[in-house]
Symmetry: C2
Subunit: 194 residues, 2 copies
């Protein structure tokens, strides 16, 4: 026998997973509360016992992916390799989310509207991890400046790749090359400043 709160928690979990699954599979318009309910084994209205509205449910989906990314980035420093490699790995990790889960990626960077705190706090966590990785490469004094530059650039690369605006035909380059250039330039700037 499951307690009431356990059952409710399980339902909530199932709802979030269902929403994430539908988003991944069919994009935003595939995420209907009716289908989310069906996939979670409950009915359409059940979500309103756990979330204020559809937006809030999606906010949780985004926040959980941010948390996943934070933990992924945290693991980067544990594995061996040079600081440069860590930064490269971290940036490519973000880009990989864009490639493998484009709809989820878009959701992560959509303007927070539901409960801003939930998403923003989780995103901030991942950004802190990234900041630590960059510190390793350029030192803590320059970490924020370079961190912002590297992160925004990687996000731009992911975004343009995702929207088809980074065509190899026109630009003669790939996301990987761009990341390499960025990391090399950052490492170079550090050395040249002492």
């Amino acid at each position: 026998m499951v307690s009431r709160s356990e059952s409710a928690a399980a339902t909530r979990r199932a709802l979030v997973d269902a929403a994430a699954g539908l988003l991944d599979a069919g994009g935003p318009e595939a995420v209907t509360l009716r289908d989310v309910g069906a996939r979670a084994g409950v009915s359409r209205g059940a979500a309103y016992r756990h979330f204020a509205d559809k937006e809030s449910l999606l906010t949780v989906v985004a926040a959980e992916k941010w948390e996943w990314l934070a933990s992924d980035l945290h693991g980067v420093r544990d594995r061996g390799g040079a600081p440069e490699d860590h930064v490269r790995t971290a940036l490519l990790s973000l880009i990989r989310v864009g490639r493998t889960q484009p709809h989820l990626y878009r959701l992560m960077f959509s303007t927070p509207r539901g409960d801003p705190d939930t998403a923003v706090r989780a995103a901030s966590l991942a950004q802190d991890e990234f900041l630590a990785i960059v510190s390793e490469l350029v030192g803590s004094d320059d970490a924020r400046r370079f961190g912002a530059l590297l992160l925004t650039s990687a996000h731009g690369i992911a975004g343009m790749e995702l929207s088809g605006h980074l065509s190899a035909d026109k630009w003669h380059t790939t996301a990987e090359e761009l990341v390499d250039t960025l990391v090399a330039a950052s490492a170079g700037s550090r050395r040249s400043r002492g």
Copy 2:
């Protein structure tokens, strides 16, 4: 007396303008075909005489802004100043669209779904203009590599600023500083390679 085709063209214009206006003012969910029609002085179904569906109408809205950007970028080279200033101005021009018309900006970089050609062609035009501006700074050999880097980075800056993920609190920097750093690094790389 207006001819039939003139009147139809005027209606089409009004529909596109109405959609753009509603998008600017109230975001995507404010763009309903009923309101678009009302704003354009026609009824809800009129749009289907000019566009396959809502998506196609929005594709035209995005394409027109890309064309506007292309023409804006074209003007950059005519005004005086150093190549560095031109690149900086061009990047900030993109970022300014993100700031002043966030919903339209998002639409420009959304995955093309309606008639891909319309939007992609217009975007390509703007990118060509940008390429020309970058050539001025780094030479035509490196233009594509640096162009892709600068454009994706600027897009990332715009996107993160727009989604609230580029908080000054955390990163201690601004979009303008990031652009300056990028441009300086590009100009520097060119010199150091000869």
